[in-house]
Amino acid sequence: MARLTIPERELMHSGHAGCPGCGAALAMRYLLKGLGEDVVVALPACCWTVIGTPFPTTVLDVGILDTAFETTGAAMSGLRAAADALGMTDVTVVGWAGDGGTADIGLQALSGMLERRTDGIYVMYDNEAYMNTGIQRSGATPEGAWTTTTPVAAKSRGKSEPKKDIMGIVAAHYPAYAATLNVAFPEDYLKKVQKARDIKGPRFLHVLAPCPPGWRFPPEKMVALGRLATDSNVFPLYEIEGGKYKITRKLGTPKPIAEYLKLQGRFAHMTPEEVAASQAGVDARWKRLLALEALG
C-alpha cells in the first residue's frame, strides 16, 4: 500500500445525511482524524444536526452533545468544567458550529468562551450562509452572493455587505491558537488540527466548507472550488499563535477571483465591474494579512 498523507483511521461513519459533495462532512472527517477519539463535541443547530442522523443513530465514534443554536461557546465551558470535575481531564472539548451559529447568533457565547479561556477547540465550519434552513444570508456570506434573502432582482444585487471577519474578532480575544483551514488542503488541515490538539487554552479553527446546493455548483467540483478559494486569496490559509500571524500557503501569483466566482451560480449575476470591485477587496485584505504577518 502506498503511503497515506493523512491518518487512515476513520472516526466518522457513512450513512450521514450530508448532501452529495458536502464540504462540512469532509471537514468533520478530517477533524476527527486529527483529534482522535477522546473527544466530546458540543453541537448546536446547524447542518450537522441533520448530517449527524436522527435518533437512534449517530455518525461519529465520539460523544456529541446537542446544544441550543446560540450556546456553543457556553456548552464548551460547561463540558470542560464537568470533565475536569469528574477527572476526565484528557478529554478534548470541541465546539462544532456553522457560520451563522458562530458569527451571528452564537457570537456572544464564543466571546465568553474565549475570554474566560475555556480549554477547548471551537470550530466554525463556514458554508457562508444559513444552509440548513435553505440558503439564507448570514454575517459570513460574502458580498455579492445570491441567497434566498438577498435575491438578485430589480432592487437587489445579492448581499450588499461584506463578509464578517470572524478571525479578526477571535484574534481580539488573544486565543491560544487560531487558524483558517480548507478541506481542499487535507495535509495543511491535519497539521493545524494536530497542532491545536496539543495546545492548551481557547483555540479557534475557521474551516471553509464549500456547499454545492448553496453556492450553486456541481458537487464534483467541491474540492476544486475549495482549492481555488485559497489560491485566489479569497480564503487565505494562515494561523495565529501567541499573537503572531503566519500564512501557511502563498502562491507567487494568485489566481484571479473571477475564476473562483464564475464556477458558482450564486455569483452568476455579477458584472465585470462588480467582479473588479470584489478583486480589489480581496487584494486589500491579502495586503493587510501580509502586513500582519510581517509584524512577527
Binding site: A17, C19, P20, V50, G134, P212, P213, P218, P219, E220
Partner: protein, 175 residues
C-alpha cells in the same frame, strides 16, 4: 416542486388541490416524498396520504430501497421515470404501470445535469396523459405561470414526456 406544480395545474381547471411535502429535512439527492390531493370540492383532511390512487416515482433507483407502492390502491396507477417498458415492473406492482424516460427527455431539453437531471415537469406531462387527472394544457399553463426558469424548455419537455409515456392501455381516468 412537482407536487406543487400539479396542484397549480389542477387549480387552473377549477379544482380544489392540496399539495404538501413530507415535512422532513431536505438534502439534495436524498429521497423525499410529497403529496397532492385533487378534488372537485374543498378538501377536508390534513394528513399524510397513506392510500394513494397514483404514485409517481421520479428516481427509479428508489424501487430497490423503498416500497414505493405501499398503500397504492390495487386499481391505481404507478408512473415511473424509466426508459424501460412498463412490463419490466410487473413484479413491483400488479395494477397499471406507466413509464417515461424522463431523465433522457430532461437532459435533451437542457434541464439539469447528468448527475442531477430535473425531471419534475417531464413526469407531470406524462402523468397528465397517463392518468387524465389534469390536462396537459393545464400542466403547460402551470409551468408558464409558476416555473421560475427555463419555461420553454420545461414546456417542451413536459409535452415530449406526454407523447413518450409508455402504458399498457389507453388513458384511463383515476377517480
Amino acid at each position: 416542486m412537482a407536487a406543487e406544480l400539479l396542484a397549480q395545474a389542477a387549480f387552473l381547471e377549477g379544482k380544489h388541490p392540496q399539495s404538501f411535502p413530507f415535512f422532513g429535512v431536505e438534502r439534495r439527492g436524498a429521497p423525499v416524498t410529497a403529496f397532492t390531493r385533487i378534488d372537485s370540492a374543498p378538501i377536508g383532511v390534513r394528513t399524510s396520504i397513506t392510500a394513494p390512487d397514483i404514485v409517481v416515482v421520479l428516481d427509479p433507483s428508489l424501487i430497490k430501497s423503498i416500497n414505493v407502492t405501499a398503500g397504492l390502491k390495487p386499481n391505481g396507477l404507478l408512473l415511473l421515470n424509466s426508459p424501460k417498458d412498463p412490463s419490466a415492473f410487473d413484479a413491483v406492482f400488479r395494477g397499471r404501470v406507466a413509464t417515461v424516460d424522463a431523465t433522457g427527455i430532461a437532459l435533451a431539453n437542457g434541464l439539469g445535469t447528468r448527475a442531477t437531471p430535473i425531471v419534475n415537469t417531464c413526469l407531470l406531462g406524462a402523468l397528465a396523459r397517463a392518468s387524465g387527472i389534469v390536462r396537459l394544457e393545464s400542466v403547460l399553463a402551470a409551468i408558464e405561470r409558476h416555473v421560475p426558469a427555463k419555461r420553454d424548455e420545461n414546456r417542451l419537455a413536459a409535452r415530449a414526456a406526454a407523447e413518450g409515456v409508455l402504458m399498457p392501455m389507453p388513458q384511463a381516468v383515476v377517480a
